[in-house]
Symmetry: C2
Subunit: 452 residues, 2 copies
């Protein structure tokens, strides 16, 4: 038979079992965390009509998209989860209750140039709150709490949720008489961290047509040093001169003010006036989340407030606020940095039942008892030497073995062996289930991310 070399396309993540278990744990924590805040899960097709998906059209997106004909239908693979959400909300408007809070964890597709750490198929994990006409600022204030809880549960402590408000920036640009250029200025200052102040100043002057004095003032403004409280105090000095600015400042005060009640630690939050987010789409609070020891990774969770989710599909005004985690990239980066815990149990089973009896009735009944108690149980029945059976458990990292020979079977008992310590004990299957459950609870309390 002629054989085809089995291979996976480059830019497509496909993990070995232990790694996949870590990835699954991350997804599980995201689901749990989003559910705690009352977000409902959603699932939309990977394939959409190209006309629908590209309603907004334009630029980079269209070049990267996977688009093809099937029969005479023009199809495309989704490149984010926001456009499908907009479609969903517009199409189901009458059947949804607002504010509509949903999360979606799903694969998206971008045919980027292949390079290390860049993926063409990757998971995004998004949450959004969509209002019908209006949406209260409190929804923006709650977002840092969700980010905080999610990353804390994953095992991170050294991260900062950086927050700004586009109204504050827009108001400030208005004060400088730069309203018309505000979109360009926003996209330019968004590059500050990457290219530095001097380059931003140059770009502001050359590409946005800002005079030197004003460019200096913009850079001074966004670079304002100090704590979040210092920055809020600094912003107060501008109050009363521009309605948009004042509104933005009120919003920023609200977001920062409720953090303690939401249980967010001060060290994990910072007002950062340099955060602009490139997209014109955002209109209020904007968020970026960075890992303190790995600034080069950039933001691992970003988003913001927008006023019009679905203007390409409906004349309903649908304001919202949302954040997105690029899960595949985050997982890749964590792995590269050696931050995925090696202590996490990644074995597919808590226990390997090893029958040494001819008749397997009792070993299988014991396995059934273990499973009914929630213990993940494999039974090893391949015809191999005893040593090889233990080698299998060892290679898989299975924490316990339950050994059943004729002696044990005669007493309806099992020998439970802790494969880490080597200790072995005779007990009933029910007692074994209890013991293993208790020990696994301890071992599973390890977080998936472990900081160095």
């Amino acid at each position: 038979m002629e054989r085809v070399t089995p291979r996976t396309l480059s830019g497509f993540m496909e993990l070995l079992p232990a790694k996949q278990v870590q990835m699954e744990r991350m997804m599980e924590i995201l689901r749990e965390s989003y559910s705690l805040y009352g977000f409902t899960p959603l699932d939309t097709p990977v394939i959409e009509s190209a006309q629908v998906l590209l309603a907004k059209g334009g630029g980079e997106t269209e070049k990267q998209i996977y688009r093809f004909m099937k029969g005479d239908t023009d199809l495309a693979l989704r490149f984010d989860l926001t456009v499908p959400l907009a479609k969903y909300v517009a199409a189901n408007y009458g059947q949804l209750t607002f504010p509509f809070k949903r999360y979606q964890i799903g694969k998206v597709y971008r045919g980027e140039r292949s390079q290390r750490g860049r993926f063409r198929e990757f998971y995004q994990a998004d949450i959004d709150v969509i209002g019908d006409g209006k949406l209260d600022i409190i929804n923006e204030a709650e977002i840092p709490s969700i980010i905080y809880r999610t990353f804390t549960k994953l095992g991170l402590t050294r991260f900062v949720i950086r927050v700004n408000n586009r109204k504050v920036l827009n108001g400030f640009f208005e004060l400088l008489g730069l309203t018309e250029q505000s979109g360009d200025i926003m996209r330019t200052i968004d590059k500050l961290e990457k290219v530095g102040g001097d380059k931003v100043k140059q770009l502001l002057m050359e590409e946005c047509g800002v005079e030197e004095a004003k460019a200096d003032e913009i850079i001074r403004f966004i670079s304002c040093p100090g704590t979040s409280a210092d920055k809020l105090a600094f912003l107060e000095t501008y109050r009363g001169r521009c309605e948009t600015f004042d509104l933005g400042l009120d919003e920023l005060n609200t977001v920062a003010g409720y953090l303690p009640a939401f249980g967010v630690k001060e060290e994990n939050f910072a007002i950062d006036l340099t955060i602009a987010r490139g997209l014109d789409y955002y209109t209020g609070t904007v968020y970026e989340t960075t890992m303190t020891d790995y600034p080069e990774i950039g933001s691992v969770c970003s988003g913001g407030r927008y006023d019009n989710l679905a203007e390409y599909y409906t004349d309903k005004k649908l304001p919202g606020v949302g954040i997105s985690i690029g899960l595949t990239r985050l997982f890749y980066v964590l792995g590269e940095q050696g931050l995925l815990s090696e202590d996490m149990v990644t074995a597919p089973a808590d226990v390997l039942v090893i029958p040494m009896t001819e008749d397997l009735t009792f070993p299988f009944a014991a396995a059934t008892t273990l499973r009914e108690a929630g213990v993940r149980t494999q039974i090893y029945t391949e015809k191999k030497k005893v040593k090889q059976k233990f080698a299998y458990a060892d290679k898989m990292g299975i924490p316990f073995a339950v050994i059943i020979g004729d002696d044990e079977a005669a007493q309806q008992m099992v020998s439970v062996k802790d494969l880490t310590s080597g200790q072995q004990e005779l007990m009933s299957p029910a007692a074994a289930a209890e013991k293993i459950t208790a020990e696994m609870a301890v071992r599973n309390s390890v977080t998936v991310i472990r900081e160095k």
Copy 2:
């Protein structure tokens, strides 16, 4: 602005929130159930190289496939989870430990003609055990236990796991001197339930070239009546005449014999000699699962033993056994038959916190307490009348409200209202968390499927 009508392609399932929660629950139960048996989760790309995906090539598959060029790369969307598994195991052979047990729940794509209840994008939920060279019969014997536990957990009681063995059928055909036609005969008798005995007899004669007497004998054989024990006894009468047959009968005895130890109820299992499965691929035990009251739905969980998973990719012999649930179709059919429980809580939150205070610090702190205790909590802060806030909870089906006015806030207490009974009680946020957790445990004990 010119608007595009927001629509989802036909043949693509996209659920409203409450339905999606039911679907998620089903997936969660599958994941839990497969994990209990020691299967590890796997995730492979939706897009593969067309050359790799179509290594086997042939027939219907190739016509239905979504295949397209991106740049000069010939790509295709996976149409099942078995081919990607074969690729994965062949590509990662050296890094896997055998027997390799994996589950995968993922979307697959087939461009079928659009019709009601047919999907072009649908979830399959597969488990497979892959051996390296050999694989013990016990792996086949364990499968009914997995099916049993999964469907029982979903809430079904009236289902039958129907089992046969291809070696028994092949051995019997050998006895009749029909070895050469056995594949064709297999595919023909697989239609028995659909077209009836007379038609099968006719097809056996006309299309498989079987003489009338032998066609009658085949139909008499597969139609053997009685219990599983009766059928095993009937098969014993053929023993000693054909090695393949005897081996198959031994295997069937093993599979049936261990069911009680695996906790499978007798009424949920039946040996059924008419089960052939169309594919030549299968070589030993084959499985179909039918819902007793809805035979017209056909099998909802099928599979079998095969000898060569990845022969298109490797010269390693990789025997295995696997089953697959067509999850999207199953969910659709259950919905059509009204079998999805209406008692299941599908609200995105267990409790809606309704603050009536100016300062929101205490309400948010109370929400944080609830969330830290694992209570799914939404906070309603839109500027609406009190009546509308309760109407929101009602529309969403949220079971509890936590109401916090100035009186409550002054005492650091909350009013917990059971929105089903209307009863209201004043208590601390911690007590509220405990009460709601306990009540939700009861409400969440409802299964997702409810038989009529």
